[in-house]
């Protein structure tokens, strides 16, 4: 009886522990929607997804219609100061999932890249577009926006929009070709070409917005991965013939230098340098001194000790040392030649003889 009750208790204890484990696991793996954090995501728009046109250029000539980003507007007006105003932009985004208001700062950032080709400027000036500041820059067709950061070097302007992002649909098309246009953009080109044709226009648009949807972030990541894969594929498919630049390699022989003989010939180069140094003349050193920006010349020993008053002493010392060296070397040479002539050597000899 006691044994049976123990068994039941054991089963209940096991059930309790298992339930506890399951509940813990469930609470860990459960998705908590309240933890969604807004992140910024970027969309780059080119071609038909971003369009533009100027309604007034110079003397009031309209451009004539929307033009795709990347396509320049051909002009031949010859004015020193040709200005373009009433620039309108519109763009197409296929989806802005989870678009939300920014936790701080602006809701949406739009960067517009301008392009030009064929503009000529006076000597000393780079061909570029100029941005003319005026009082109406913030009037973006009734949409609250701020324009800042016109960068002449890159020909970009940055527009910040403060929209009610929550009212926009989170999926699907967002007002195809949504027009947040303005009638206050003005581009001034300091052009001095003589009726030579040139082009001007918008190159591309980049939109950055806030989203609570991870899909957009994942899509951006996937796009980056795809770009990396394409780069690798392009590299692998590159069939440009290899071209080794062997002109700068030092030659150790009479033939043109190659990669392997340059490496394997390093000992030969070392021995050649040593022999040249032994038989050649010395050049003094110039050691740059810190803080004073001057060089300290260090003359060779030849000019200090081995010539002039010290020459006889150096000759006596050097001659004695040379005599000792020569004596021992000649003994070694005699032995070597003697063994070679007497056929006493074996294959293990370092220098190798008959």
């Amino acid at each position: 009886m006691e044994r049976k009750s123990k068994k039941i208790w054991k089963n209940w204890a096991l059930f309790f522990v298992l339930s506890l484990c399951c509940s813990v696991l469930f609470s860990i793996t459960r998705v908590n929607p309240a933890q969604a954090v807004a992140k910024q995501t970027q969309v780059s728009l080119t071609g038909t997804n971003a369009q533009w046109f100027f309604t007034d250029a110079g003397g009031g000539a309209p451009q004539g219609g929307w033009t795709n980003a990347g396509v320049g507007w051909s002009r031949t007006i010859n004015n020193e100061m040709v200005y373009y105003q009433n620039l309108q932009l519109r763009w197409l985004i296929d989806a802005m999932p989870g678009a939300t208001d920014a936790p701080s700062g602006h809701d949406m950032q739009v960067i517009v890249w301008f392009k030009h080709d064929g503009l000529t400027t006076p000597a000393g000036q780079h061909p570029r577009l100029l941005w003319v500041d005026n009082d109406n820059l913030n009037a973006c067709a009734g949409t609250p926006c701020t324009i800042s950061n016109y960068t002449p070097d890159t020909n970009t302007i940055t527009i910040y929009f403060d929209l009610d992002m929550g009212s926009l649909p989170s999926t699907g098309w967002i007002n195809p070709y949504s027009q947040y246009s303005t009638d206050t953009f003005m581009i001034l080109s300091n052009n001095q070409n003589n009726n030579a044709p040139y082009t001007i226009g918008v190159d591309r648009i980049q939109i950055t917005y806030w989203t609570t949807d991870d899909t957009a972030t994942i899509q951006n990541g996937l796009e980056q991965v795809n770009n990396s894969v394409n780069e690798v594929n392009d590299f692998l498919r590159d069939d440009t013939p290899p071209n080794a630049d062997t002109n700068n390699l030092p030659s150790v022989g009479l033939l043109p230098a190659g990669p392997l003989d340059s490496l394997l010939g390093l000992p030969l180069t070392l021995m050649t340098n040593i022999s040249t140094a032994l038989g050649g003349s010395c050049t003094g050193l110039n050691v740059p001194l810190p803080y004073v920006n001057k060089n300290l010349p260090i003359p060779c020993f030849d000019s200090i000790f081995y010539s002039g008053d010290f020459a006889p002493l150096a000759t006596i010392i050097g001659g004695s040392a040379s005599a000792i060296i020569l004596y021992y070397w000649l003994k070694h040479l005699y032995k070597k030649v003697d063994r070679a002539i007497s056929m006493e050597t074996t294959d293990e000899d370092t220098w190798g003889v008959l």
Partner: protein
């Protein structure tokens, strides 16, 4: 004068040895140029670094008195010439033995 003469002789022997090395490595060089076209840049860096290390060598050697320098040069040149003569004689003897074994007549 005698130093420069010996140095020139030494360099001539080295150049001949380098040329023999180049002739042996001709096909391998072509293979490396085809398979690793960018390798030569790195080899060039290594060789340039090696040469820059050796740039102070003439000054260091100039510390040795001129008579001893000439003596060392004589020893080096003679040893190198001996080594080449003995080695080439040994190789020629081996080659001759191989040729003797070939009996095509």
């Amino acid at each position: 004068m005698i130093g420069q003469l010996l140095s020139g002789l030494f360099n001539l022997i080295m150049t001949l040895a380098g040329t023999i090395l180049q002739i042996i490595l001709l096909p391998l060089n072509a293979l490396f140029n085809g398979v690793f076209p960018d390798l030569t840049t790195w080899i060039n860096n290594v060789v340039s670094g090696f040469n820059s290390i050796l740039s102070g060598l003439p000054y260091a050697i100039s510390i040795i008195p001129p008579i001893i320098r000439s003596t060392i040069l004589i020893i080096l040149t003679t040893e190198l010439a001996l080594m080449l003569i003995l080695r080439s004689t040994k190789l020629t003897a081996k080659l001759w033995k191989i040729i003797q074994k070939i009996k095509i007549w």
